[in-house]
């Protein structure tokens, strides 16, 4: 189990003591370029964390993409990760289900735990981990197989269904929960790639929840979608929160505000600020966060 770290990572955004607070007129160039070390301000911990990340560093070869990030993802919570392009949001989220293992030269340091168990420990099987921490990618990437097969695949390889009827049940209920069943119930045998972009993304979500993971990671799931499809997925996220914990990367501040309870702002590989979504958007502590959410940088 983790030692209580509240003393170290608790609320440290004391305005009178922190030099980088909102309200200062200018940021130095070093601060803008992330060449100095920020201390994360806000509420990095969560009372009931499902994932806890402590002092995480990620390197691509010699380049450091994530610098000393500490963050919790709470149970049944939606947390959004925001920040300018290239700040390391995708890199961070991919640490949580060890997708970075598949990248040549990527190296992850630090202590990352799922339900208290370190996921980078030797004895942890990334295959099992990824069944527990599902992922939805930026671009819809259904398999070039039928709609049914797309959703059934995860259940099949993990041996979740003992009979055809059970498999049907998993597939149909996952599609139902992804809000796609009505649209595709007559098209089960058509290729998943023949669906529209928004349907494909919901198919990918159905495929992920069919495995019944504990956490779902979403990397800009709506960036390729129109507002209506986006709204459907946002409704879906709200609903999925009953059963899953969700970390979502997004470039849309409105989306973050609509779907998430907590928001984390990344800047140049560092976690600058994290807190309740309303606080971060309406009353940010850090000057960089304020600049970003008010549209001055990013």
């Amino acid at each position: 189990m983790l030692k209580p770290m509240d003393t170290q990572y608790g609320f440290i955004g004391n305005r009178s003591h922190d030099p980088y607070v909102a309200g200062r007129d200018t940021l130095s160039k070093e601060e803008q370029d992330g060449e100095c070390i920020f201390e994360t301000v806000g509420e990095v911990t969560s009372p009931d964390p499902i994932i806890s990340v402590r002092n995480c560093n990620v390197f691509y070869g010699d380049n450091q993409a994530i610098n000393n990030v500490t963050l919790d993802v709470g149970r049944n919570e939606v947390i959004s990760l925001i920040g300018p392009s290239g700040c390391g949001k995708s890199t961070f989220i991919r640490c949580l289900n060890r997708m970075n293992d598949t990248i040549e030269g990527a190296r992850v340091e630090g202590d990352i735990r799922l339900d208290g168990e370190p996921i980078y420990a030797k004895e942890v099987d990334p295959v099992l981990l990824r069944a527990r921490v599902g992922m939805v990618f930026q671009k819809p990437n259904p398999f070039p197989k039928s709609v049914y097969e797309n959703v059934a695949y995860g259940a099949r390889i993990h041996g979740l269904a003992r009979s055809r009827a059970e498999l049907d049940e998993i597939v149909f209920s996952s599609l139902e929960r992804a809000g796609l069943y009505a649209e595709v119930k007559s098209r089960m045998d058509e290729p998943g790639t023949s669906l529209s972009g928004g349907q494909q993304q919901r198919l990918c979500i159905a495929r992920t929840i069919a495995v019944n993971p504990e956490v779902i990671l979403m990397d800009e799931p709506c960036s390729a979608l129109d507002p209506i499809a986006t709204a459907k997925i946002e409704d879906l996220i709200e609903e999925l929160r009953q059963n899953f914990s969700i970390a979502i990367v997004t470039h849309s501040m409105q989306q973050a505000a609509r779907v998430s309870q907590r928001t984390a702002y990344f800047h140049m590989g560092q976690l600058v600020e994290v807190g309740a979504t309303d606080t971060v958007f309406t009353n940010p502590i850090h000057r960089l966060t304020e600049d970003y959410v008010t549209g001055r940088i990013g």
Binding site: M99, L128, L129, R130, A131, V136, F143, P144, P191
Partner: protein, 438 residues
């Protein structure tokens, strides 16, 4: 924008920009037209070469698909066939059947006398005729004592004469026949005793010293066995190697070295593979010489680099998002490859493999090294029997002095081309069958 900004000098008025673009247009179009012209020229040149090749091969070879037959009245003389009345197979198989043909021809041309003219007369009929007679008598011994008009293969020179004669060409001048023979032939034509038929012998028999009895069946079967051996070894090995290199191998100096070597191997002259096969399969592993098994193994070695290169590019062409999707829901790396990457890469792999093997099928040089340049009459029953191969057969016939082998060479080339055409068509078919543009 401040005065000293470097981009400022590059900014021009839109009028100026437009002028400059227009000035450059003429030269651009000229360059484009020149490029298209040379492209078209290149295509035309290659098409005309191909056309020339096809026309010359077909015009030389099409005559080989018919063969002249000659009708002879045969009397199955009991005194010759079974002087002691025995009809036991071992007796009937020893009979001097050429006597029956000689007597038959003699009765048709009673005026011919003397040893030399009679010899010439007997040479109208192919040497193979006696085997036909023997088989006939042994199958149907009751025929002994009766008379029958039988059609026999004509000798290759007669065949050449008759083909030219039927076409209305100057057959007599071109033929290597004496006046007497031509006289007999004209007589036979007048009696309707010469006939052209479809040349089944060419497709059903093995090699022979007599062109009229030589066929490609043995060589084609040898080639087919080699194809099967080559495909069943090179394809799985090539695919496995490419998957390992592309998906699982660590990126380090050793793998780079292997990669460079594979690319180099694809360019190694084929005869070197023949030497390798001789050393490894025949001298070291003591596999039989001249066998399609060894030939197939050698061709497999030869095509392996090509298949690996083609398969790797097919794997690289599979979008990485598919792999990520599979890994993302907890497929193991092997599952991701087998379930998702491989099916998508398969058409490309198959096409590469088939084209590589089709290329190898036309190879002669490595087969010379492992003793497949043999005179093979019997078609091989298994891949371990001595055999030749189509390109080797072509090479052997092209080297033979008899004129009739020239047309057979061209015909064999046509058969080889048909073989390759079928394989390429299969590649195209497989591609369209498995390629799902989803």
């Amino acid at each position: 924008m401040s005065e000293e900004s470097p981009s400022n000098s590059a900014l021009r008025s839109s009028v100026e920009t437009r002028k400059r673009v227009e000035a450059s247009l003429g030269a651009r179009y000229r360059r484009e037209n020149r490029f298209r012209f040379f492209g078209l020229l290149a295509v035309l040149v290659s098409v005309s070469f191909v056309a020339f090749f096809f026309v010359s091969i077909i015009s030389q070879g099409y005559t080989a698909f018919t063969q002249t037959y000659i009708q002879v009245d045969v009397y199955f003389d009991p005194d010759v066939v079974s002087p002691d009345g025995s009809r036991a197979p071992d007796v009937l198989s020893q009979v001097n059947y050429s006597r029956l043909i000689k007597d038959g021809l003699g009765s048709m041309f009673p005026e011919v006398s003397g040893r030399k003219p009679k010899q010439l007369l007997n040479r109208l009929v192919s040497n193979g005729a006696i085997y036909e007679l023997r088989d006939r008598v042994m199958a149907e011994p009751d025929i002994i004592g009766s008379r029958e008009s039988l059609w026999f293969l004509a000798d290759d020179e007669i065949d050449a004469w008759f083909k030219q004669y039927s076409r209305g060409d100057d057959a007599d001048g071109a033929a290597r026949l004496g006046d007497a023979q031509i006289g007999w032939l004209r007589q036979l034509v007048a009696q309707g005793r010469l006939e052209q038929r479809f040349n089944t012998v060419f497709f059903t028999s093995g090699d022979s010293r007599d062109p009229e009895m030589a066929g490609i069946w043995a060589a084609a079967k040898g080639s087919f066995f080699m194809l099967v051996v080559c495909m069943s070894i090179a394809f799985p090995l090539g695919v496995a190697a490419s998957i390992y290199l592309e998906e699982f191998a660590p990126r380090n100096r050793w793998v780079d070295l292997i990669e460079v070597n594979i690319n180099n191997l694809a360019a190694v002259p084929s005869i070197v593979f023949g030497l390798l096969g001789l050393a490894v399969f025949i001298n070291f592993l003591s596999l039989p010489r001249s066998a399609p098994l060894v030939g197939g193994l050698v061709l497999a070695l030869m095509t392996l680099p090509t298949i690996i290169i083609a398969s790797r590019s097919a794997i690289t062409a599979v979008p990485p998002s598919i792999r990520e999707a599979a890994l993302g829901i907890g497929a193991s790396p092997v599952q991701a490859v087998v379930h998702h990457v491989l099916p998508l890469a398969m058409p490309g792999m198959l096409t590469g493999a088939i084209l590589g093997i089709a290329r190898a099928l036309g190879e002669t040089a490595p087969l010379l090294m492992i003793g497949m340049v043999a005179f093979i009459v019997e078609a091989p029953q298994t891949p371990l029997d001595p055999s030749s191969a189509l390109p080797v057969q072509i090479y052997l016939w092209a080297d033979s002095p008899e004129r009739a082998f020239a047309e057979r060479t061209a015909a064999a080339i046509m058969v080889l081309l048909a073989f390759l055409l079928v394989m390429n068509a299969t590649a195209v078919w497989l591609r369209s069958k498995y390629e799902r543009r989803w």
